[in-house]
């Protein structure tokens, strides 16, 4: 009986989340049609979709798995570059944009997922904060590697170099595909707002179903008490690896959306560096760790707010840092929790509801 009731509750909560995304999409479309959204804001819509997916996927790692990834921008970078590379090579071979984009998505997600597994195998076996530091290092390495990578194609096939375009040694008919620090130019602009929203919904289906599945409960059991989970026969490394690689693959999807919206894709500290990883973490912390719907809302608000308050741009990063610290102290300090329980009984109720959703 209670099982059925709980089932219903999670389904309802999931439906609210899907409805929220669809609702925001419809409102935005109406606003675009009536012309009440500036072109600047319209240009933000596709990146916004990728940020939402990033926030949801990081929440899977931080909230559900209970580990910290500081290299989500790195996984995004992998997805972005592999898929843009594929699309640029296949522009002539596959003229249908839909099929090409679909394949690019699979490639982006798979390559980011593979990197997730490669990093996860050594690191997730360990107890402690190693994942944070290794993913942080991974993000920086990927950014560096992409910046020294030159790949060209001519009638003889592909040419690789880590020096410059000249050392590719291509025939005159050759075409440079990845041009080191100049990145990839001329990726087909296949990402649209509608596709982005569809991908957000697919991400939500994957993540929400995973959380409420047998595996999801195993993952949360590992998070809450590793030793207890191990003792009832849960394969800790397997489930940790599962959650982390799915999270990495979804970050790769976000990278695909991001890269297919840009004329020139370059790896800079701004888009694929540490700052980006921190920004995603701020979305997750502000939306509530473990609260998927909160991540979506936080990503939207924090992306649009600075655009509306341009004057604050210099202080944006500073404000993010303060918000991060303040939120953590308010939400997790035992003293603050005690104080809240005494004085804000309403909030306590809301908090309880949140906890049950997870």
């Amino acid at each position: 009986m209670s099982g059925m009731k709980k089932m219903k509750k999670t389904t309802k909560s999931n439906l609210i989340t899907y409805g929220l995304v669809i609702g925001i999409y419809l409102v935005t479309q109406i606003l675009i049609m009536t012309g009440s959204i500036s072109s600047l804001l319209q240009g933000l819509l596709v990146p916004l979709c990728s940020y939402v997916i990033l926030a949801v996927s990081l929440n899977l790692t931080v909230g559900i798995l209970g580990e910290l990834s500081l290299g989500h921008a790195g996984f995004m970078c992998v997805g972005a570059f592999t898929s843009a590379f594929f699309s640029k090579c296949m522009v002539d071979a596959i003229p249908v944009a839909g099929i090409r984009y679909f394949l690019a998505l699979l490639i982006g997600a798979a390559s980011a997922g593979i990197f997730g597994i490669l990093i996860g195998i050594p690191v997730l076996r360990l107890k402690g904060d190693y994942l944070a530091i290794v993913t942080l290092a991974f993000g920086e390495i990927i950014k560096n590697v992409v910046n020294i990578l030159f790949i060209g194609r001519d009638s003889n096939g592909f040419h690789f170099s880590t020096k410059d375009v000249m050392s590719l040694g291509m025939e005159p008919d050759g075409q440079v595909i990845i041009n080191g620090p100049q990145g990839i130019t001329g990726t087909p602009k296949d990402s649209t707002f509608t596709i982005g929203v569809i991908l957000i919904l697919i991400t939500l289906v994957i993540v929400l179903n995973m959380i409420h599945s047998r595996s999801g409960r195993a993952i949360m059991a590992v998070r809450d008490n590793r030793i207890a989970a191990e003792s009832i026969g849960i394969n800790v490394t397997k489930y940790k690896l599962m959650a982390f690689s799915v999270s990495a693959a979804l970050a790769g999807v976000a990278g695909v959306i991001y890269s297919h919206n840009l004329a020139t894709l370059t790896a800079q500290p701004k888009n694929f560096g540490y700052n980006m990883s921190i920004m995603i973490l701020v979305f997750v912390v502000l939306g509530g760790i473990g609260n998927i719907r909160g991540s979506i809302i936080a990503a939207i608000v924090l992306t649009l707010l600075p655009e509306m308050l341009r004057g604050l741009n210099d202080y944006r990063m500073l404000i993010y840092a303060v918000v991060l610290i303040a939120m953590m102290l308010f939400n997790w300090s035992p003293k603050a929790i005690e104080w809240r329980e005494k004085h804000l009984s309403k909030r306590k109720f809301a908090k309880k509801k949140c906890a049950e959703e997870v």
Partner: protein, 294 residues
């Protein structure tokens, strides 16, 4: 001859990593937390020295002294405001995320005050370079100073922990916080002292780092901080001689990687080392393998 010169450079860079890693490893041993902001304290220390020397016109030793005092207070302040309230939090992620927030805050404060432009740092080391082997091998004063500082700090710290009451208290708290408290040790004070020592070392490391590599930006501390953490893991986190060995080995690996493999891939090599260490010997060279208790 170039091999020896690379080796000396590597040991010098490694000594800086070792000094930073000492701060990491002490804090990790006692507070069981990864202090992400440690690298940024280095950067703040370097800016304090720079400001004291260029704007206030103070002599180098006075500037370094001010930086050490400033960073000590800063470290204690951070611990008191941001970390202490979360000491008994339900999730171990809470304090980690807060530490990232603090790191980010320090970087952005420095960005607002000093700007994003690279500042050139004048070396504070008065020792002239030593030329050996008919001019084929030059050892800079910074190198000598760094290695000497590293050895002095290492010996000083070991003696402090072995002989003094506060040092023994630190050991006790890192072994078992609850039991230490029952024995009458003031745990809060001991943790604050650890942060103070770690941050003071960070200030010294900042000065040495910027004397050897004379550029300074708000992000100067981030990378050496992360590498020092790698060094601490390499040597065995929580172990003081381990931090030393790990730091020096890592410095040598980095410089050799830069010289013989690829200068752009040196960072990747360093982090590759971290992943290999985690695969082969997760406890590090001198680390203890602690069994979990239910």
């Amino acid at each position: 001859m170039s091999f020896i010169s690379y080796l000396i450079n590597g040991i010098s860079l490694g000594s800086v990593y070792a000094i930073i890693a000492l701060g990491y490893t002490m804090v990790y041993g006692i507070a069981k937390m990864l202090n992400f902001a440690h690298g940024d304290v280095i950067m703040i220390g370097a800016y304090v020295v720079l400001t004291a020397m260029t704007s206030a016109g103070l002599p180098a030793y006075a500037a370094v002294l001010i930086a050490v005092v400033f960073c000590t207070l800063l470290g204690m302040l951070i611990e008191r405001v941001a970390y202490k309230p979360l000491r008994n939090a339900a999730s171990p992620l809470a304090v980690l995320i807060t530490a990232i927030g603090v790191s980010y805050l320090l970087q952005n404060i420095a960005l607002l005050i000093f700007g994003a432009n690279t500042k050139s740092f004048t070396s504070v080391v008065p020792i002239p370079p030593v030329v050996l082997a008919d001019g084929n091998l030059t050892i800079t004063g910074e190198t000598i100073m760094t290695i000497a500082a590293c050895i002095v700090i290492m010996i000083g710290l070991t003696v402090f922990i072995k002989k003094s009451k506060s040092g023994q208290a630190m050991l006790a708290v890192s072994e078992d916080r609850g039991a230490a408290q029952l024995m009458g040790i003031n745990v809060n004070k001991t943790i604050a002292l650890t942060f103070a020592i770690g941050s003071a070392l960070a200030a010294i490391a900042g000065v040495l780092l910027c004397s050897a590599y004379p550029t300074l930006t708000p992000y100067t501390g981030a990378m050496p901080g992360i590498k020092a953490f790698v060094a601490a893991v390499f040597g065995g986190i929580g172990s003081i001689p381990g931090a030393m060995i790990g730091g020096i080995l890592l410095g040598v690996i980095e410089i050799f990687g830069k010289a013989y493999i690829s200068s752009q891939m040196a960072d990747a090599i360093v982090f590759g080392v971290l992943i290999i260490v985690l695969l082969v010997k997760p406890a590090g060279i001198l680390g203890k393998n602690i069994q979990e208790k239910v």
